[in-house]
Symmetry: D2
Subunit: 349 residues, 4 copies
């Protein structure tokens, strides 16, 4: 065990986000994976659960309570919501926590209870948690002990909309967020709708008006707008494993133009942010441009309807939308170069 490295544990390593976290961590020069937990698979080697990770020098999977936390500096938590808050509550204070679950994203306990169907049981922790949208909460993340990484949809949506709402360029009373996601967003659990034969060669919406990422988006847009916001959030399941695309249809503020929106996004991200950029000139964003990477690509186009604008954003839901942003937050928390282990170009085709 090298003492030069930061020793990390991945809690809930048997999910897709856990596995992708491991993939990224293996190339991180400052990380040492000292524990992988997965209660139902405890005792197995990681390669038995994820054969693509064979040949790597990884610890065996153990139960959460088998970890010796004295030897752990940071924990990534990829457990289901509910379980996540329980487990994180038990971690010793010296362990910094990057939570990829949904448990600490919503600041308002009532909103949490309403959308997640149960009261939050770790409200003190909730108060300490910092919302981990790296580009917009960097300073708070730096000093946090517990970072709640945003959901995949909120990440793509907020990177796109926050600068525009802050600049007052778009109205917030009828924001349409039409979203499309690959199937990995649904996780590795056995569900009928994520079978190959059900999800393949077809596309349809799900959780219309009822997706838990809606209140999360609203929470952050409200901060930017200075007042409550209610959005239309309509996700669709597309027949691909990775990738997420946001098409936001917005009404421009009086006097504002699509060009103003593009300029505001460029002012915020160009030369400022390594992972967020506008699509090349004349090219529309597409998930193919970010697959397997931590990048987010944005685009702006005029609407045919005067006074409106079409705003686009794409990420890899498992990377920038989950494990990649988690590593980015880890880098910030441990005062490392924020891009460490995250600059790998997208994989295409």
């Amino acid at each position: 065990m090298s003492r030069d490295k930061i020793r990390i544990a991945v809690i809930g390593a048997s999910g897709y986000t856990g596995a992708d976290l491991v993939r990224l961590a293996l190339r991180h020069p400052a990380m040492e994976i000292v524990a992988l937990t997965a209660n139902t698979h405890a005792g197995k080697r990681m390669e038995q659960v994820y054969p693509h990770l064979a040949g790597q020098d990884l610890p065996a999977l153990v139960k959460n309570d088998e970890v010796d936390w004295s030897g752990v500096d940071a924990a990534f938590c990829g457990l289901p919501h509910g379980t996540s808050q329980e487990v994180i509550s038990t971690l010793p204070e010296h362990v910094k926590v990057i939570d990829i679950s949904a448990d600490f994203r919503l600041r308002d306990p009532e909103t949490y209870a309403q959308w997640y169907g149960r009261a939050h049981t770790a409200l003190e922790l909730q108060k300490q948690a910092v919302y981990g949208l790296s580009e917009h909460y960097r300073e708070k993340i730096r000093d946090a002990r517990l970072v709640a990484c945003p959901g995949c949809y909120p990440t793509a949506t907020l990177l796109l909309l926050l600068p525009l709402v802050r600049a007052g360029l778009i109205e917030t009373d009828d924001l349409i967020i039409d979203a499309k996601s690959g199937v990995s967003g649904a996780g590795r659990g056995l569900k009928l709708n994520t079978l190959f034969c059900e999800a393949g060669e077809g596309l349809g919406p799900y959780a219309v008006g009822a997706h838990r990422h809606a209140p999360e988006i609203e929470q952050e847009l409200a901060v930017a707008a200075g007042h409550e916001v209610r959005v239309n959030f309509t996700p669709h399941l597309a027949p691909m494993s990775r990738g997420e695309f946001i098409t936001a249809h917005a009404r421009l503020a009086k006097g504002a133009s699509a060009a103003d929106c593009e300029a505001a996004l460029r002012a915020r991200y160009d030369d400022e942010e390594p992972f967020v950029r506008m699509a090349p000139e004349g090219i529309l964003p597409a998930t193919q441009q970010v697959r397997g990477s931590n990048f987010c690509v944005l685009g702006v186009r005029e609407d045919r309807i005067p006074g409106r604008v079409i705003l686009m954003s794409t990420i890899d839901n498992l990377v920038k939308g989950s494990s990649g942003q988690a590593v980015q937050n880890f880098n910030i928390m441990f005062d490392l170069d924020e891009t460490t282990a995250l600059l790998q170009a997208p994989m295409f085709p």
Copy 2:
């Protein structure tokens, strides 16, 4: 050659819509395929161009000018726009024409010239052409010599929106039509963006604000609304061969509700139309529900934003969006049972 049957020609039989037309025609008890044309493939047997049609008793492919039109009662035309009008202009008057191309859909020659980059050269024919949205122009189609079948996106969109606009249930000044299509909509031509490696495992928008189906949708919504309409039409390419999904985001007219929209659609289609229906209770529409069939499935959901509604429609772009609707119009024009050869259930998985 049986004289009991209606003798048809498929002009431009080497495209995907031509091939799917042949697939449907082969099971049509009143159709006899007497000619298949494809200028670049003339001289080949259909099975050399489409091996899945081997073993069927089909005429060889010939050039357009090799057809003996005296023995043809009806022609389906699947040529590219521009060429379509030229060829149809040369057909003898006794041949009824069901045009699957875009050439006769737009009533206004200026709009045509603007969107298709050239002046229309068959304006007299254009005046006679009937817009072939079967469910909404049935009476005119019955007496038409030339029917211009709608584009795939307009078909799915108009079946969804026309009854609501007519009933004044939704506003028409900020209609958002976020569309998703499979790759076959782009045809069989060799284009970089429709290669497997380019379109696969990814999703992105195209022709944002510039798709030729926008003016077609606007033309028909304007008829229903009684005034000009400008829509947001934003198509996306999804990694599947067939299937099209429309997610329309609309502002409700004052006093109207999502339930009113559903009731209006049910009143229009339930018990009236064999091919259009609401999704089963509690289930959202999805392209998987219509693949390979002539059905259109609709859905309505409340928006989280008060006063708005989410409207959904799905078709198979090659069937109801093209060849199937063409056969449906043929059935109407020749006074056959409208459902002839079109009741095949969708193929799932």
Copy 3:
């Protein structure tokens, strides 16, 4: 209830083969679906389990023991093996049975017990069962009460190899059957390896040397060869929903050639069989040529190794490999035109 039609029940209608059986039955002019059973879904309407079958006039799902068998003429059984024999044993004698499960395919009870891990409990029925490879057991099927439809792999393999083995054109001591299948062959059950993210964008073998279709293939090849046969059967899972491809690598009998093999297949199938044919000249078979149809396409090519031949066969595993062949057998059993409801051309793309 029309008394002109043959009244059928589909036992186990909630699986993919059951649903595809219903799809075909709906277009069958001589069939009337009077019962659909599915124990776990009993009480639901079929459209709640398979939304693509909405709008069809189908009976609700019931438990097996709720069916009034006095009103049923024929039953298609798509239950899992084991359960199938139990349920079929209880059916009254007047009900003709077309079994799509694996329970009555193996004639030797010991082979069954060895491969299916349990003793057969309906040995009397087993003796009566006719192996339902339509093209090769037509006469026996005609008079059978119980037909055991072959597995999908055996169907594609035996249609290809039986005429060659019978003619003594290929040796049977080192037959290599390298098979590739779409995911629907694994059924609708929830399994990790059939999730979209697991099966998508990848390919690998499964059940190497241990697939239950191997003894079935061997049983029938042995009949043709006149002695026991042991084959290499190596199936692979490919990222598609439907379609099955057999690549058989065989040693030619002394003096035999690839051309002899092609001639033997043509002699057996051309002009004789409506559903089996050679691929068009110069074109190799591919699953795209049969998708959604009851056709089987064969091909023969010389091997680079002298004295060997490459033999190819493709079917849609859910149609000719399951429900389509079941309907074909039904047609034979009830003395209908064998092609009734089965001539639909493949769906491409």
Copy 4:
């Protein structure tokens, strides 16, 4: 321009292998990309041809003859065969060349002429070229000026079979190599059979008995066997972008067993080679285990036919089968750690 780094040019950077080479080179600490050539796209920025590479600091695309070779230390060449030999012939002697094309793989000019339909025009260079199967020609590669990287199929096949042939464990007179590949192996050129709608949701063989990788495999097996070898090589196109799977069916040498084969592969690769390994115990190889990585995973299973064995191998055709192995050879040629920039774990899902 850093003089500490090795300055590389990518000739033919607009193909998929060129783009994947750039992806890998961007993370290589010792490489500096100083030139990208693509005659038809000269003048464009790389991001206009490959938007996923936007945001990287890459030189613009130029024509081959615009490169100042005095500032180039090594060239990767991804041109089509024929063109490749012409361009490489013109490069100054100080430029080390890693050729990804097929031009220098075949040692015998007559075999080249026969399979590639034209005489080789750079026979002197051909004599110098080293066959770049890294694991088996490492010493020669180290001192080579021109390395001819193997084709994707030969790479996967030879890594699997060479140790077994050398050890005399399998017979070489009836080797069956049944191969399956993703579509990217066919390149980015516009071809009908690689359109999404043609290649999607289907599988079929191509170039049966006529694929150019057959003589390449035979050449190397002959070296290992000490005599000429003729193989059955039967490739299939599967509906995925990346990944290649080899299923080799072989007769065991007298007295040899499947266990012997596994032991021989383990003896050759375990503890010796960083990129080649056996699949985890109880798990069969699958392309999902190597996607996006430079790894090769092998497997061995007993055949049901006594005296035979089933041998399996999988790689990512664009990485270990092309650009990854090219980088590996570069590392060897420039005396770097052979794994530099190549240890990224596979991407799953």
